[in-house]
Symmetry: D2
Subunit: 264 residues, 4 copies
Amino acid sequence: MNRIALLDDGYLELVETWGSDERIVEAARMSTGKGFQGWGPNDCPDCGPLPSEEKIHLHGTPLGKEGCSTCRGKGYVAGDEKLLRFLSENHHDTPFEMGGMVIEVKAPIMVFREWHRHRTQSYNEMSARYTPLPDENYRPTIERLMVNSKSNKQAGTGKGADELTEGTAADWLKELDEAYAHVERVYQHGLQIGVPKELARLPVPVARYSRMRASANLRNWLGFLTLRMAPNAQWEIRQYANALHKVLSETFPRTLGLFDERRS
Amino acid sequence: MNRIALLDDGYLELVETWGSDERIVEAARMSTGKGFQGWGPNDCPDCGPLPSEEKIHLHGTPLGKEGCSTCRGKGYVAGDEKLLRFLSENHHDTPFEMGGMVIEVKAPIMVFREWHRHRTQSYNEMSARYTPLPDENYRPTIERLMVNSKSNKQAGTGKGADELTEGTAADWLKELDEAYAHVERVYQHGLQIGVPKELARLPVPVARYSRMRASANLRNWLGFLTLRMAPNAQWEIRQYANALHKVLSETFPRTLGLFDERRS
Amino acid sequence: MNRIALLDDGYLELVETWGSDERIVEAARMSTGKGFQGWGPNDCPDCGPLPSEEKIHLHGTPLGKEGCSTCRGKGYVAGDEKLLRFLSENHHDTPFEMGGMVIEVKAPIMVFREWHRHRTQSYNEMSARYTPLPDENYRPTIERLMVNSKSNKQAGTGKGADELTEGTAADWLKELDEAYAHVERVYQHGLQIGVPKELARLPVPVARYSRMRASANLRNWLGFLTLRMAPNAQWEIRQYANALHKVLSETFPRTLGLFDERRS
Amino acid sequence: MNRIALLDDGYLELVETWGSDERIVEAARMSTGKGFQGWGPNDCPDCGPLPSEEKIHLHGTPLGKEGCSTCRGKGYVAGDEKLLRFLSENHHDTPFEMGGMVIEVKAPIMVFREWHRHRTQSYNEMSARYTPLPDENYRPTIERLMVNSKSNKQAGTGKGADELTEGTAADWLKELDEAYAHVERVYQHGLQIGVPKELARLPVPVARYSRMRASANLRNWLGFLTLRMAPNAQWEIRQYANALHKVLSETFPRTLGLFDERRS
């Protein structure tokens, strides 16, 4: 099953991928007219198997220069990891457009509001003009509510705000539940008495879950990850970005490995 | 003043335009190396002034072929209206990328949700992560609520819905007001007790007003108008599209005149 | 083998596709929260198998309305062909972004010059800065040279030009060969004496073959076909567009069938 | 006159700009609902005028922190330079989409081939299908031909190539002239005997000059400059990028100042 559960009611699900690390190298080689030449070996010719964490991410340039990390044997010949690394480190980004991924996402509207600012993706989303949105709203945990107040007292709260406690957080969640329930009654009542669907939705909160399919090429997904896995991204969209990273890593393990190196 | 009031609390305001009908012709003429040659005269050489509605929109190709619409005099020589018309009618769209417009817009979130699906525009929007959104929510008029139920009984309402009346519409607006007020109390309370701004906003409705700057070239604005002035576009975004059309027409009167012809 | 030979020395080769007609319907159904429901049957419930040309392209809306084309039986129930047709005919284009194709192309530089004006595709091309371009130049046939002069005496020739004959065409091809050979000698000589590759290429003609990978989603490929299969597109790029159409039709037969209907 | 002469026969000419450094700040301030607040003073309140090179580029953040560079007076209050610097240094790029520029360029086809890979610009170019291209071809100087061979013996020349001398370079330029002349004769003869313009151009070299209009927003122009002012960009397109930088600096002096800081 390709569905990863996120937040209290959301998910990210793989629909399809295209391309591969090999295809990216092939595309880059168009500049010289050569194709993919093969990855380097997983074994050092002098001392045997490489440590597993080096097999994918590290044995490109570093081993090509310095040899095997165990015996420092120099017989080792690196393969096209070197080119992939060169592309990644020098921002030769177009070959990474030759792969991509389609996903399905269920997330709160406020997450989609941030997501849709990425203008290089393709989207098809549920529409409240066509179908009433199911009564599912994002309800953060107390731990999540406390995140900012614990680690960074000021960050993200309004000026002159009190310090949040587990007690006041729990109380506020109850208020939130009541507001969600109130709003839903008005929505449903509007629908029943004949308010057009496109207007009955007016009180629907930005916490309401919606669903979409999204497609992008790998270059643009990496751009999304750069912004949305960053520490200053909102925690909620970061959960989706982390899940996306996981799914992408299965199809493009070497490229994501290099991406991780650059981020750290 | 360049601000056009829209809905109950929104607006569209011109910030800046670039390019002109003449510049579009100049750009198209790059293909042959010639520049802008001039528009045709506003007078027929045989009988005098052309009817005003022809001066801009019509005296290109039609008059070039058929002469003046009053006297059918053939002395008339059309100018670059002919080329502009040819570009417009034959979807030679790239020259229309050589002009554009920046605007500022205040609109409900649900309108921005539709707007931001246009991925060729540039956006900078108010963010509830940085600043609490003012307590302004779109409240439709009774007439607006009735639009669909009068002209098209089924369109847009849920299956099995009652028929909306002025009385039930007015009652529902009161319910909507109460929901808005309830939600605002929860939002403000959250902010006060130290819920991070990015989470305190969870109950904020999609009716809440936000603000943004948007920029696009003329080709992409025309694409926006095509979709958002269409009868099946939601009434609210249509008001913004109509205002946009008005502002664009002042800078690009001939291009918008041709756009209007194609639409009708 | 997926390679289609084109012109005298070019080709178009399928690298990979993603998505399908079914996926497009699934994406469109996100708006209402439903998935793909299935295509209509290939048999009429009253009289048996439908004519084969109707199985894919026609038995959506037309049969839904008018029944089987043989017996006019009304028992027939159309499937999601209806939705696909609706999307195609009403320019609901975003679901068609959920599929796509990567190809490899060898074509003359002048064809690539036109191709690269399509800014929504991804490209990786051979570079004369990195590797000398092989001595392969497009040489049209006499029949091709005569196309315009036969069917449309004026079209495409300069003002005051003579009328091309098979004899003068054949003579000119010899001149062309000599020019190609001369230029190649200067190119090779430059390379040999130490002129940088990026400058030695200066005399290389726009007829020189180059190679690239190109990727785009289906919506953008259809936009490419619309412009480049058109009668006013240059004959050479039309050959590539026709081949592209053929390859796309194998993965997206229903979508391309609808595209063909709209074009005719 | 806004035309900057480039190479032997090319130019870059400003057609129009839109936006300003102030507008970029205004757009960024949409996030908090505030507008442009003003730039910091050009004088230190303690000791008078700032050194001229600090007036624009430096007196934002640095002076805000460290005071005036002459007297270290702390009375200085920095203005919106601080925000502009923050946007530039933290890759908050969307506000830079709110300005832009339209230019006209005459350059060799090989330069346009590189230029058109920037897919976020708008282009209208002269077309050899519509009008014969004038007989103007780029002819590098001997100094230019020697650039690589002097500073970097290997770079850019083919394997096993001789070392270029002023003598062999001069000889090769004569060969180049003859090739250009030969090719032009074949082109003109083709046009005269009735070969369609779109085919008569086949022998035209990639050194042939063409002309275009190009438009982009400031964010995308900065992306162009990043790639095309880089030392590994071909010398010819770097001349155009340098000229573009000069023209942009007149309209957006603060933004380009920050761009220069980041590059160095």
